[in-house]
Assembly symmetry: C2
Homo-oligomer: 155 residues x 2
């Protein structure tokens, strides 16, 4: 898994260069939850808290990264994009911050993989959080779409 997380880190930096300036770090995947982190000083705003756009970028990437890990696990090659999202900024983030994306239930993943294999395209809803000092600071819900590479879409 360590090598796979290293590959995800390199994928971010080479394929989405702004992630370098955001200071996005792939921190951990424990089989149930992917954690990305970023340094406050790279994403600070006028109130010495994390800029909302940076928080949104980190959670968007953590969802993308979890789906990337799921596809790797399934040995499926697909492009991943985000279709829509909602975010609530519940409290200011005043330190380095981490975005956590939990694996959906296995039945949801099976359904997603089945649809993707049959139709070449499938959607997955992911929920993400940023916590600080024991309190939920950011709640995010994103709908991602995977499209198999070299496949004609039938829908």
């Amino acid at each position: 898994m360590k090598e796979r997380l290293q590959e995800l880190q390199e994928t971010f930096y080479t394929e989405i260069p702004i992630t370098y300036y955001l200071g996005v770090i792939v921190q951990d995947y424990n089989g149930n939850c992917l954690t990305l982190k970023a340094a406050l000083e790279k994403n600070i705003n006028h109130k010495d808290t994390a800029f909302a756009g940076s928080l949104n970028a980190l959670v968007t990437l953590a969802g993308w990264g979890l789906l990337w890990l799921i596809l790797k696990e399934q040995e499926l090659k697909a492009n991943i994009v985000i279709q829509d999202s909602r975010i609530s900024y519940l409290k200011p983030v005043t330190t380095h911050f981490s975005a956590k994306c939990y694996l959906p239930e296995s039945s949801q993943i099976s359904h997603f993989v089945s649809i993707l294999s049959k139709r070449g395209k499938a959607r997955l809803e992911l929920y993400l959080e940023v916590w600080e000092a024991g309190a939920l600071a950011v709640a995010f819900q994103g709908r991602y779409v995977a499209v198999l590479k070299n496949t004609r879409i039938g829908e």
Copy 2:
């Protein structure tokens, strides 16, 4: 207005340094719509389109910027934060991109200013768009909160 837009540009770069790396440019305000732009190459992803996190950051900032202009116009000094937002990525953005934030109806602005003056805190819902080649590429809805500086909040 030219000087005020220059001040907004400097506010972004000095108070939210990541906006420099995102290449955020305050392009225009015509009295009805604030336009911010950003270069594709600074925000590109693996599909040679704009990274969703960058699009979200630009629209988030354009809403913030419009509210900043409204407050300047009203000669009110307040901190502005975003409370929550929704975004739909409707089509890929393949060139330099602009976020447009239209002024709400004057009755909404009057209500917002009245509440802010009375209570020291008020919310405003803003709608933003990114268009490309005559088609809507990104639709965004954000709820912003302004809190008067040096005021005790009564709510």
